[in-house]
Structure formats: structure tokens, C-alpha cells
């Protein structure tokens, strides 16, 4: 390892925090999806960093990072399909305007 | 509404149409190196080096014909062409000798190629078979008043040139002129022709 592990973890923590902030504050659903991608990415960095330093088998983390990427791709496709359907039905992409099920 | 009948596919095997199309372009590519223009090769003409073959009947701007020497043209400065020209692009002045007596040849003969519309009226009306339509086309100029105004010296071209560019017309005209001259000579054999120098060929 050329740089210490905690630094990498801090970096991915910051990335995760930024993503979470985006999820909490964005109104646009596509914006929320983008922020979720950031958070998943932070998880991927963590997996890789651990697989390089503390893992028992070096490939474990990479395998799970592959899974994370696959899941992220699915999130994007299904989420965006829902956004498009929503846009077609209600002419909006803002999360707080989709409040039909709100009490 | 009935659906339009689609023509039966000519190629039974999928993909042969594609290959046929590709063969057409490939043949063109190969032919462009090995075949002449009329056999399917390249027919582009490389302009400044080689010029277009112009058909005999092509016409554009008028010029004057002389027989023996440029200072004795067929033109008699009668001014018919000047009068008949629809765009008035011809300007003729008759030459005068030192005594002020008019000679039967032009002193000034100018055609404004910028005005000329290539109608060929001058050629039709000329009674002396002097003015004909030329086919030069590399006459671009930078100034439309100066460069397009063509003077007598540039307009005068020998009969040989006329025979070269329009051999059929030139032969007809020469034959007619010869016949007319012979008739004239036969009629006035005792006397010397008044303008022998001008029209003898």
C-alpha cells in the first residue's frame, strides 16, 4: 500500500457523506439517483481498499465490488425507467410533488 | 386500402444483394485505374492542364475575321451589327485616310463582353461574313469596364482560326464567297476590281 488505509477510508467516507447529502437535499429524482451512485461508489472503494489490505483472500473485495457495480447498473436502469414512467404519467420529476400516497 | 405489392426478392440467399452492391463500387474503383473514360473509367477533365472538347456548334462571343492581314479585315465598318445588337455592346468607327475620305474598314471596333449576351445577332446580320461567334471561354478579368472591353486588335483573328473552330460553317462561307467573287470577276472582267486588296483570298 502506497498510502495508509485510514486515509482511503476517510476519502470514501467523505464521498459517502457527499452522496448522502445529495440524496437528502435533491428534489429531482434523477439527482437523487445520481447521489445514490456516489454512495455506492464509496462502498466500492472501501471494498477494494479492504481487499488490498485486510482481507484473507485478496479477490473477495474485488468480487463484491463487481457485484456492487452490477447492482448500481440495475438501480440506474430500473430507477430511470420509473422516472420516465412517472414523468409520462404526472409530468414531474420532483420527489416532493409525487405525494399521492401521503396521508 | 390494399397494401402495395412488394416485388419478389431477386436474391434467394441472404446477403448476396450486399455483395453485389459492393462489387459494383469495387469495379468502379478498379476501372478508375485501368480503363479509359468512355469504357467506365474516370471521366473527370483536369481543367487547366486539359480542356473540355467543345462541340462544333458551341458559340459564345463574337470576333472578326480577316483573310490576308489584320490591317485589311473583311469588315467594312458598315455599322449594321452596331445597330442590330440588342444590348448595344458593339461600337464601330469607320477609318478615314489623311484627306478625311472614309475608308471601308474600321478604325475602332470594340465589343463589351460584359454586356454581350451571346445572341449571335451580329453574325446573322453581317453582309460581309466578317463577324462570327467564337468559343473562347478563358476571358475572366478583374475589372468589368476595362478588361471586358475588347478592342479591334484582340477581336481580329485569321480565317484559318475560323476554319479550325467551325470547319463546316467556314467551308460553306468560303465556298459562297469564292462563287460570289468569281461571278463578280466574270461580270467586270475588263475593269480592275475596285477593292481587290480587300476581298481577295
Amino acid at each position: 500500500m502506497i498510502i495508509p488505509l485510514p486515509h482511503v477510508l476517510l476519502f470514501s467516507l467523505a464521498l459517502f457523506g457527499i452522496g448522502a447529502y445529495g440524496v437528502l437535499t435533491r428534489r429531482n429524482i434523477i439527482g437523487i439517483l445520481i447521489s445514490i451512485e456516489l454512495m455506492l461508489n464509496a462502498a466500492g472503494i472501501n471494498l477494494i481498499a479492504f481487499s488490498k489490505t485486510t482481507a484473507l483472500a485478496p479477490e473477495t473485495g474485488q468480487i463484491f465490488a463487481v457485484f456492487v457495480i452490477a447492482i448500481a447498473a440495475m438501480t440506474a436502469t430500473v430507477g430511470l425507467a420509473i422516472v420516465l414512467a412517472l414523468y409520462r404519467a404526472r409530468k414531474t420529476v420532483f420527489a416532493d410533488e409525487v405525494n399521492l400516497l401521503k396521508w | 386500402m390494399t397494401r402495395p405489392q412488394i416485388a419478389k426478392e431477386k436474391n434467394p440467399v441472404f446477403g448476396t444483394g450486399i455483395l453485389q452492391g459492393m462489387w459494383v463500387t469495387m469495379k468502379n474503383f478498379i476501372d478508375s485505374y485501368f480503363k479509359k473514360a468512355d469504357q467506365g473509367g474516370i471521366f473527370t477533365i483536369q481543367y487547366p492542364e486539359e480542356l473540355c472538347r467543345i462541340s462544333e456548334n458551341s458559340r459564345n462571343f463574337p470576333f472578326l475575321v480577316y483573310d490576308a492581314a489584320p490591317d485589311s479585315p473583311r469588315c467594312t465598318a458598315c455599322g449594321i451589327c452596331e445597330r442590330e445588337c440588342p444590348t448595344k455592346c458593339i461600337h464601330v468607327e469607320m477609318a478615314k485616310d489623311t484627306a478625311g475620305k472614309p475608308l471601308r474598314k474600321p478604325a475602332v471596333f470594340e465589343i463589351d463582353y460584359g454586356l454581350c449576351m451571346n445572341c449571335g445577332m451580329c453574325e446573322d446580320v453581317c453582309p460581309f461574313d466578317s463577324i462570327f461567334m467564337d468559343r473562347v471561354y478563358e476571358i475572366a478579368g478583374r475589372d468589368r469596364t476595362k478588361d471586358m472591353l475588347i478592342g479591334k486588335d484582340a477581336l481580329l483573328k485569321p480565317n484559318a482560326y475560323f476554319q479550325k473552330i467551325r470547319p463546316k460553317d467556314a467551308a460553306d462561307i468560303d465556298a459562297r464567297r469564292k462563287a460570289a467573287e468569281a461571278k463578280k470577276a466574270a461580270a467586270a472582267r475588263p475593269a480592275t476590281p475596285p477593292d481587290a486588296g480587300g476581298t481577295a483570298s
Binding site: - | R3, P4, I18, M22, M26, N28, F29, D31, Y33, T44
Partner: protein, 386 residues
């Protein structure tokens, strides 16, 4: 191989080693490493644009010949200086930015598009030991980097604020994503057989005349890969994103001068690198008898580029539904069958495997074409309302 040939074969490698030795005499070790990177980088950075310039000339000449014309032949002997004249023209043209354009992205798009186009050169094996960086994931690197090309096209089309650009960008997205799938899957059999992702070892696996294209799965894979290649670099007949007759110029409608030149450059460099990768994967790369390795490589690559130009001169443009149909309904299933066939061919030795593989491929191809009968759209009747 006689000594003269081996000298010619490794002339560029030796030149670089000699230069590095010279530098090693004067400078410390880290500078030599740096210089090694810089030399390869500079060669690639020069090679890319030069190849692009002469590809434009080649294309214009060949298309001209196919249309019974000469093509450019005025500037310099045989028009050899024409690309330079074009370059000067591009440099001196006015740079127009639309008023409503997103200025920053409009500027960034043509710059960004050149980066992946140049980066792909890194893994191209130009000859024996002539790969700039023999990455262990070479082929994947190539696929990954070339997939980024969609992004700058999107940037350009969106930032122009022009409906033609927008439609062009949308079409690009659909087309490039669709054709990436069969392209990647067509590579899989090659990776299965050579058991490596590195371009250099893939070429080494095709030693002698055992090029992958001479096997049933290799031929099918090559054809599929090449079709996808043509589609990936938006060349006719897959040039819907920049269809002149429908979309003016597609995503680069609003670009002029040097920015347009950069788009153009990226396109031609992509055409070159994609052909080069096709050669590497299926046509044996630099392998070949008698001639130096790099001569073989460039001969094969330019043969493929010639084929691309040939397509351009021959075929009319696809319709959008046909384009998508070919990618998803014909090429994708065929690549899946091809992977299976490659496995069978590997485990059934001798003539049985060959014939079996060929038969399976032919049958699945015919079956797929039969299933994909061209749809004749219903004739539309527009009733006038009264």
C-alpha cells in the same frame, strides 16, 4: 529470419532503447523511466493526428475513385499536402458559439472526445514488442476507454442547444450502447482461446498463420466485431448520429473551426484504432511471413480501413429501427451462439469440431435471418377531417 529482416523488424524498439541508453548516461534512473513514458507518449500523440490526416486523404481519394472521380490531387504531388491545407483552413476559421449554448461544456466536448481516442493507442500492438503499454487487461481497457466516447458526444449535442444536435446525441447514445454489447461479446471467444486479456499475448496466441479469423467462430466473431466497429465510430452505413441529409451534421452541427476539427480527428482516430484492435484480435495482429511485423500490422489495418471506406461508398444509411434490430435481434444472439461454438470447437478436436461449429453457426445465422424478416410498415392513411 535473416539479420536484415530482424533489424528492420525491431528498428523502432532498438531506436527507443538506444535513446534511453543515451539518456541513462546523463540522468538518474527515475528520469529514464519518465523518458521512456514520454517517448512512447510523444510517438503516439504524433502518430494519432498524422494517421488521421492521411486517413481523410485516403478516404476522399478512394471514395472518389469509387464514384469515378479523382479526389483531391492539387495540393502537392497526388494531393499529399491536402490534409495540411485542410488543417490550415480549420485553424483559421471563425469559432462560432451559439448564444444559448452552454459555453463551458460546448468548449469541453471536443477536447474531451480526443482523449479516449488517443488513449486507446496505448494498447495497440503496432509490431513485435511495439505495444506502448502491454496492460494485463488490454482488451478490456480498450473496450472501457472507447465506451467513454459517448459522453463527449452527449456533451456536445446537449451544450449546442440545437434540436438537430440533440437528436444526433440521442441517436448516438442508443446506437453506441446497443453496439457495444455485441462488440464486447464478440471478443469473448478470443479471450477464451488465448486465455489472456493482454493484446500482446493475444497476438502471440495467433503465431504463424493460426489467425483466429481462419476458424469458424473466429470468422463469425470477426464479421460481427467489424460490423460493430463500423457502428461504433459512426461511419456509414451506421452514420445516423450525423446523418447529413436528416440532421445537418448531428451532434457537431454547431461546431466550427478547430473544435469541429477535433471531433473529426477523434472520429478518424477511432476508425483507425478500432480497425487496429480488430486486426489484433482476429487477423493475427503483426503476425505474418516475410515482411517486418509492423508492415504487416499496418497493411492489415489499412485493409480494414479500406473496407470501411468501401462500405461508405456502397451502402445507403440504415433506418433507426433496422439499426437497433440488427444489433439486438441478429448480432447479439449470434455472439451468444458464437461463444458456445467456440467452446465446442475447443473441446472437439479435428474435423468434427470444425464442421460442427460451422454448421451450428450457419444454421443459427439462417434461422435468425428468417426470424428477422424485414417488416413492411402498414400503409398509413390520413383521413381529412371535415
Amino acid at each position: 529470419m535473416n539479420p536484415a529482416m530482424s533489424f528492420l523488424d525491431s528498428i523502432f524498439v532498438n531506436l527507443k532503447l538506444w535513446t534511453l541508453n543515451l539518456i541513462g548516461h546523463f540522468l538518474p534512473g527515475w528520469a529514464v523511466i519518465l523518458a521512456s513514458i514520454v517517448i512512447s507518449g510523444v510517438v503516439i500523440l504524433c502518430l494519432g493526428p498524422v494517421i488521421m490526416m492521411y486517413l481523410t486523404l485516403l478516404e476522399r481519394k478512394v471514395v472518389g475513385r469509387m464514384q469515378n472521380r479523382y479526389g483531391p490531387n492539387r495540393v502537392g504531388p497526388w494531393g499529399l499536402l491536402q490534409p495540411i491545407a485542410d488543417g490550415i483552413k480549420m485553424f483559421t476559421k471563425e469559432d462560432i458559439v451559439p448564444t444559448n449554448a452552454d459555453k463551458v461544456i460546448h468548449l469541453l466536448a471536443p477536447i474531451v472526445i480526443v482523449v479516449p481516442a488517443l488513449m486507446v493507442f496505448l494498447v495497440v500492438p503496432f509490431g513485435r514488442d511495439m505495444t506502448a503499454a502491454d496492460l494485463s487487461i488490454g482488451v478490456l481497457y480498450f473496450i472501457a476507454v472507447s465506451s467513454v466516447t459517448t459522453l463527449p458526444i452527449f456533451m456536445g449535442s446537449w451544450a449546442s442547444r440545437n434540436k438537430y444536435s440533440m437528436i444526433g446525441g440521442m441517436r448516438t447514445a442508443a446506437q453506441m450502447i446497443s453496439y457495444e454489447v455485441p462488440m464486447t461479446l464478440a471478443v469473448v471467444p478470443v479471450i477464451m482461446m488465448s486465455q489472456s486479456l493482454s493484446t500482446a499475448s493475444i497476438v502471440n496466441a495467433q503465431e504463424g498463420l493460426r489467425w483466429f479469423v481462419f476458424t469458424p467462430w473466429g470468422l463469425a466473431g470477426f464479421v460481427i466485431f467489424f460490423i460493430c466497429t463500423v457502428a461504433e465510430c459512426n461511419r456509414p452505413p451506421f452514420d445516423l448520429p450525423e446523418a447529413e441529409s436528416e440532421l445537418v451534421a448531428g451532434f457537431h452541427t454547431e461546431y466550427s473551426g478547430m473544435k469541429f476539427a477535433l471531433f473529426y480527428m477523434a472520429e478518424y482516430m477511432n476508425a483507425f484504432t478500432l480497425s487496429a484492435i480488430a486486426v489484433t484480435l482476429f487477423l493475427g495482429g503483426w503476425q505474418g511471413p516475410f515482411l517486418p511485423s509492423w508492415v504487416w500490422f499496418f497493411t492489415k489495418t489499412f485493409a480494414l480501413i479500406f473496407a470501411m471506406i468501401w462500405f461508405r461508398a456502397t451502402f445507403p444509411r440504415f433506418r433507426v429501427d433496422q439499426l437497433m434490430g440488427i444489433a439486438w435481434k441478429l448480432l447479439l444472439p449470434l455472439t451468444l451462439v458464437n461463444m458456445l461454438v467456440a467452446g465446442l470447437w475447443y473441446f472437439i478436436p479435428g474435423i468434427t469440431g470444425w464442421v460442427g461449429a460451422a454448421v451450428i453457426l450457419a444454421v443459427s445465422f439462417l434461422g435468425l435471418t428468417a426470424l428477422n424478416k424485414p417488416v413492411i410498415p402498414e400503409k398509413r392513411v390520413y383521413l381529412l377531417e371535415n
